[in-house]
């Protein structure tokens, strides 16, 4: 997994320096922290999702603020990562504000997930899809369409929302709990039930999950495209160790990141156009905009074509920095080559692509 073991780097919530000597405080704090997370996902978030959106997302923000306040270790990591990667673009105060927004947004995304029910109508009312004509036009070509996105915004729900809006969507991506060493079957079943089940209701088929040795992934994606369907993928994922030789180096967030340009190869072989799509939340936290671009021109060489995708991801992240997941995971930033002295992404084979959440700390 791309992060430290539960609690390894963080003081337990609520623990303050003056209380450090109290025996058992750390364990109790950690236990309460996990209990809160479990209760939130299993009971609170589903209930919140039934409330009027304005109230539900306001309460989600409130919970995000609490997490921001009490999860001091993670907050410090996020701020440090923001400052290290974006440098002088963010003042310390701005980095704090972005970090707080990140915590709010992550909680709001759980509400998004819970609103994926009944045809996703309650979520569809909150998300404006811009540029769907580009996707319609791409599918009119009969070779399917590849949507390139990032671990940005409520992308998991956005893909499901596209499907609920009439586009047959299949995602290339791994569920992290399936690739975490030592994960118990109970935890996997929990995540399958609480997370994947909701998402996959609004997907054409289960995720195509790339992993070393699964050489059929691109062929499966090609088969989906041959059916004139939509394949989505997040192209900002740090490469696996086994994929390092196939990475290219592209400018990304002011650094040279090593990323996999697989979508460009897939597009060239299948003839499917590549479109970019990013969802971001508006200032009220409940409404979102999902913007779909026209097809990326494919006339130049692979590095140049993929460079356009990386530039689009870069622009989206700079415009809405709190929406990018990887601020939450310094190890991911390092693997991408965005932190000083870490140009070579040291990716363990247990790296996951789908979103992480604080729920991982339950495992």
């Amino acid at each position: 997994m791309g992060e430290a073991a539960p609690g390894a780097a963080d003081p337990p919530p609520g623990r303050r320096p003056g209380r450090a000597g109290w025996p058992g405080a750390a364990a109790i704090g950690q236990m309460l922290f996990r209990a809160e997370i479990l209760a939130f996902w299993v009971a609170v978030a589903p209930l919140l999702s039934l409330l009027p959106a304005s109230l539900a997302y306001r309460l989600a923000c409130w919970r995000g603020d609490l997490t921001f306040r009490y999860w001091a270790g993670k907050r410090a990591e996020v701020v440090r990562g923001l400052r290290q990667v974006l440098g002088e673009e963010l003042s310390p105060q701005e980095a704090e504000r972005v970090a707080r927004d990140l915590f709010r947004i992550r909680t709001c995304e759980v509400i998004d997930l819970m609103r994926l029910r009944n045809g996703a109508r309650s979520l569809r009312k909150l998300v404006e899809i811009r540029g769907r004509e580009h996707l319609d036009a791409a599918l009119a070509g009969g070779k399917g369409a590849i949507i390139c996105s990032a671990h940005f915004g409520s992308y998991v729900c956005a893909f499901s929302l596209l499907h609920a809006s009439g586009f047959p969507v299949t995602t290339i991506g791994r569920w992290w709990w399936n690739y975490t060493p030592g994960e118990t079957p109970a935890v996997k079943r929990f995540w399958d039930f609480i997370y994947a089940r909701r998402v996959l209701r609004y997907r054409q088929r289960p995720n195509i999950e790339p992993w070393p040795g699964r050489v059929q992934v691109a062929l499966q994606a090609a088969a989906v495209l041959r059916g004139n369907e939509v394949v989505t993928i997040c192209s900002d994922a740090p490469p696996l160790e086994s994929d390092l030789t196939r990475t290219i180096t592209v400018p990304f967030l002011g650094h040279q990141a090593r990323l996999l340009p697989g979508i460009v190869d897939l597009a060239r072989v299948t003839g499917a156009p590549v479109l970019l799509a990013f969802a971001h939340r508006t200032a009220d936290y409940r409404h979102q905009v999902l913007e779909i671009s026209p097809p990326v021109p494919m006339h130049s060489e692979t590095t140049a074509v993929f460079g356009q995708c990386a530039a689009a991801m870069d622009a989206a992240i700079r415009a809405h920095p709190a929406e990018w997941d990887f601020w939450f995971e310094p190890t991911d930033l390092a693997r991408l080559g965005l932190l000083e002295g870490s140009l070579r992404p040291l990716v363990r084979p247990d790296y996951r692509m789908e979103r992480t959440t604080e729920l991982e700390h339950l495992s």
Binding site: P210, G213, R214, V215, Q216, V217, A218, L219, Q220, A222, A223, D243, T245, R246, G262, D265, L266, V269
Partner: protein, 89 residues
Amino acid sequence: MEAVINDYISRELVQDSALLPLEDDTSLLETGVLDSLSLLRLVVFVQERFGIMVDDIDLVPEHFDSVDSICAYLRTRAAETAGQAGSHG
């Protein structure tokens, strides 16, 4: 068939020149010649060159581990296709 496929893989997919000339029994997966995307290119080539469609269910590493195994699979697949065409005809 072996020569055609060996030639295509050697020209288009082998990145490590130390593997050339490519032996027909060299493991393409263990040597890293074939990955997900290069397998896709190979299958597209096979379909265009030999007119043999690869079923999704057949997309297992054993069928694509070497030039020999690819050809063995394709011959089986061609025979199955011919048999189905004969039974329908």
